[in-house]
Subunit: 135 residues, 4 copies
């Protein structure tokens, strides 16, 4: 039986669905989930002691290179959702995250992303040591 | 009887309402109108021979300082709207625009904005001569 | 000296600026302020004991008919803003609100809106008694 | 050598990047690509003779169940992008699409989605015969 690998770091936040985030079906639009994933990454970074706004002002940017989302159940305006963000892999220039978005006990979506570190010029650069997570 | 003053410049564009721009009522969200007004200004500028993207790369930015919208009738997903943008006043550092958004013969909204010219530092600066409109 | 009129009701919320809400200038886009005003109205309603989501499910909708915003200073990604929403007038079918958005002691914007009550058919209808605010 | 399979249907549209779609890096935000994919699907459907707005009014909705995006190069405000949308598989209740987004000869992103047909109640239903594509 394989061992479950613990994430390097994880964080859980709650987000209330805003009115314009729902579409004419009454469902939160599927592009909004992608914005929530980014909020999850930014808050995980904050929990680890880093401000993404400060990183950018120091010329450290992250761009998404890969995104996968599985949508399982809809969300609606005003619902309070729970997003868990896990850092599952880190390399010299990239982080891989996995996500679970749910409402109460209902799993709404799972997702994974790869983000790469770039400079103000958009060229790939090493992730600064201080934001690498130690095992 | 007062004379009608002709605008200094005007332009009309059509915009098709996108799916996520409609909210759970099925109506285009009222914040989206504000994005359309900006598209009207950018296209009017283009018609006058200027690219807002180029202006920004030269350190010429415009920020909205005043906005008024009167919403008269809703728009829905996939409808093709007509937006007329008029430059009605220009000063050394600001432009005033007026707008009419309609669908077929139905007036959906009227609006007015004031935009001010700022540099990359956010400080007010003179509008470059070449983008002032001659009477 | 005129007496200051107290609002019928008011509420203050904080909102952290999200990454995609900032534009290429680094400023929160001016259309996003309009979404924040709506969040202010919804939270004021909640404070008064009403859920806008529930109202909609009962066929009570509000549409914005008039909007005015004065933009005074920019906001940036990750800043925490304070929005005060005041109900300043109520009529049989409409509510007037006024707003102040600030960051620390810096006033970023003031705004006012008129919203009208409509049914699921989009026709104006009376605001239900239970959501009128008593003086 | 494997044969290349032709898509069941395909369409190419151009989209100009809007100002608020760019973020503080100056890049089109990665969530916006997801909105563009939906525009590609809607226009492909229109090319095949169907209006998604009309389908919805007949109780035929599509929800995204799976999304994958590979981001390869950034897009910026005002650039005109080319999106090719291909219907690559159809089943009784789902369509699979693949996408290429490019600017001039630069490939910006590739993507794939699965969409499922649901009724107004959100329950999976058969895709109506008339919108199935014949080989």
């Amino acid at each position: 039986m394989p061992e479950l690998t613990a994430p390097l770091a994880s964080d859980t936040i709650t987000i209330r669905v805003r009115y314009p985030e729902a579409d004419a079906m009454g469902y939160m639009h599927h592009s909004v989930y992608v914005q929530y994933l980014e909020m999850g990454r930014i808050e995980l970074l904050r929990k680890l002691g880093h401000s993404y706004a400060n990183l950018e002002s120091q010329g450290v940017f992250f761009v998404v290179t890969k995104l996968q989302v599985r949508y399982r159940a809809p969300a609606r305006f005003d619902q309070v959702l729970t997003l868990t963000t896990k850092l599952v892999r880190q390399g010299p220039v990239r982080f891989d995250h996995e996500y679970e978005l749910s409402r109460n006990d209902i799993l709404l979506a799972t997702a994974s992303t790869t983000i790469a570190c770039v400079g103000a010029d958009g060229q790939v650069r090493a992730i600064p040591d201080e934001i690498q997570v130690n095992d």
